[in-house]
């Protein structure tokens, strides 16, 4: 079985088969016999799997990847990080790209477009897509059941709640920084954020919710922290007549 003139598709299939056989404990020699690939190819596929998982096993496509274009200057980036770690001005709950651009211009005399900031968010892993909650309404899935049982009744019960937020907290796997992020999406899905260098504490959650409640009666679908064990957050929420919080159940996949 000669694998010298295989199409990329069948070569990739054989590379995957070679990895499966190696996972089953077969020697390189045995794998070469079964797949028709050469020993260096089997070893290369195995090495690629070890370093990058199944996604790395197929042969690579050519060309520059998306997002590999120009990057912001290091000093610019440092300023951006500093600002994101501060509380936003004017009682805003978090930073929007427009708010950040204005602040940088006014306070640091830095000209940066919203688009450039959003690109930078993406490159630093800060970008977050809103959850497709409305799409869950008609789905016969775990997400659909949760939406119909927990979110929809609250939305219909609280017609006066003009503000509907998706809020979450997460740790970003950043190569050089410790980054914890509050991410927020309003009705239109626009992203707002606030970052921390340490895990947020109860006071951070309370001040975020206070800022959101100042914008009017609201419902927050929340993911990322076990707020029910924090007495401070529980107490604050209990005192609010027009602010409702719906926690996303653990391990419910709600990503877009």
């Amino acid at each position: 079985m000669n694998a010298k003139h295989l199409s990329p598709g069948s070569l990739n299939e054989r590379r995957k088969q070679a990895v499966r056989l190696r996972l089953d404990g077969h020697t390189v020699l045995k794998v070469t016999q079964q797949t028709g690939l050469s020993a260096p190819t089997v070893s290369a596929a195995w090495k690629a799997f070890r370093e990058g998982g199944w996604a790395a096993v197929p042969v690579k496509t050519r060309g520059r990847l998306k997002g590999q274009a120009n990057v912001l200057d290091a000093s610019f980036q440092e300023v951006l990080w500093q600002v994101l770690n501060q509380a936003p001005p004017d009682d805003a709950p978090a930073w929007s790209s427009a708010g950040l651009a204005d602040w940088l211009k006014e306070n640091h005399n830095l000209e940066l477009t919203q688009r450039a900031i959003e690109h930078w968010w993406e490159s630093e892993g800060l970008k977050h897509e809103p959850w497709p909650l409305v799409r869950f309404a008609k789905q016969r899935s775990q997400q659909g059941r949760w939406y119909r049982q927990s979110v929809e009744p609250l939305f219909s019960k609280t017609k006066e709640a003009t503000q509907r937020w998706q809020v979450g907290v997460r740790r970003i796997a950043h190569p050089s920084r410790s980054v914890y992020q509050f991410y927020l999406h309003g009705v239109r899905g626009r992203l707002l954020m606030r970052c921390f260098e340490r895990p947020p504490v109860a006071a951070d959650y309370v001040s975020l919710f206070k800022a959101l409640s100042r914008q009017g009666p609201g419902v927050v679908v929340f993911h990322g922290a076990l707020l029910e064990v924090s007495p401070e957050v529980k107490q604050w929420l209990a005192e609010q007549p027009a602010f409702w919080l719906v926690p996303v159940p653990r391990n419910l996949a709600i990503t877009a």
Binding site: G25, G53, V201
Partner: protein
């Protein structure tokens, strides 16, 4: 002649060790800690003596601080396999309410694990105990022989070990001596995962990545498994995708951030890792050579 894969060779070696122990000792027991190594060891034991069940009971030395998922899994397994499961908790530990938070990890481990194990072995008169320790976990485990002899007080003398040349095991015991036997000592963490994958061995779900509530303590991610876990003022547990490489008492076991929620993904992660799984155990960092000291005192 067909050649065996390295896993088949390891399997054959472990089965031979188990049969040797059953043939040479009077009252053996298998220590069952509910982790992945115990799961593999139990699977090997069932293979070694099939179709009969293994001719020894399982012993779980409980500390009352294991993960809830571990207790559920233990009870489910005991029901499933039809072997006797003995559970021992040090009564003095219960009386004094020994716990990792107020007493610290060293005292908790000593009282609830080391003393608890010694009590259980004495109580039932076991003269050989299978343990799932592996050489690649920790340096003192690396130098321990497969047949590790213990004095009447369960002490281990690392400078007085028997040679095991050509895999020949000297099982002769002095009066009141006992043996700790490590049938999977020569396996690596990766071997364990490949074997679990190939043999479809059930394991505690905590080994798979999932969203779990964790807090950061001294660089370790500690899961908030029940309401007994005291939180710092203002601390809020975050939901993070984590899994455990090793399982012990939940306040003393660090999780790792991981996306590996299937066995092939875990195996891939193992191929890349450069640290020992025991780095997640707080008790191993108590002091230099802490494991060796604990082992000398009777820890397994």
């Amino acid at each position: 002649m067909t050649s065996l894969t390295h896993l088949q060779r390891l399997e054959a070696e472990s089965i031979q060790i188990m049969r040797e122990v059953v043939a040479e000792t009077e009252n053996p027991v298998m220590l069952y800690s509910v982790g992945k190594d115990s799961a593999v060891m139990l699977h090997l034991a069932r293979k070694a003596f099939a179709p009969a069940p293994p001719p020894f009971p399982l012993l779980h030395v409980d500390t009352r601080w294991k993960f809830r998922a571990m207790y559920e899994f233990r009870d489910h397994m005991a029901e499933d396999i039809g072997m006797d499961l003995l559970v021992h908790i040090n009564p003095e530990g219960i009386e004094k309410d020994i716990n990792p938070f107020t007493h610290g990890s060293a005292i908790h481990t000593d009282v609830m694990k080391t003393e608890g194990l010694k009590q259980a072995l004495d109580k039932y008169g076991f003269d050989a105990a299978f343990g799932g320790a592996r050489r690649d976990e920790e340096k003192s485990r690396a130098k321990e022989r497969i047949f590790s002899f213990r004095t009447a007080q369960h002490r281990w003398d690392p400078k007085n070990q028997r040679p095991e040349l050509w895999k020949l095991y000297n099982t002769r015991k002095h009066a009141k001596e006992s043996i700790r036997v490590f049938p999977i000592s020569n396996w690596t963490e990766l071997d364990i995962w490949q074997y679990i994958y190939l043999q479809n061995i059930p394991i505690v779900p905590l080994y798979y990545s999932a969203e779990r509530p964790v807090v950061e303590r001294d660089g370790a991610l500690i899961m908030v498994d029940d309401e007994r876990m005291p939180l710092e003022p203002g601390e809020v547990p975050m939901m993070r995708k984590v899994r455990f490489r090793t399982l012990g008492c939940y306040p003393l076991t660090g999780a790792i951030e991981s996306e590996a929620d299937t066995l092939p993904a875990i195996i891939q992660e193992m191929l890349l890792t450069k640290t020992s799984e025991r780095q997640g155990r707080v008790i191993d960092n108590d002091s230099a050579a802490s494991m060796e000291k604990k082992k000398q005192e009777g820890y397994f």
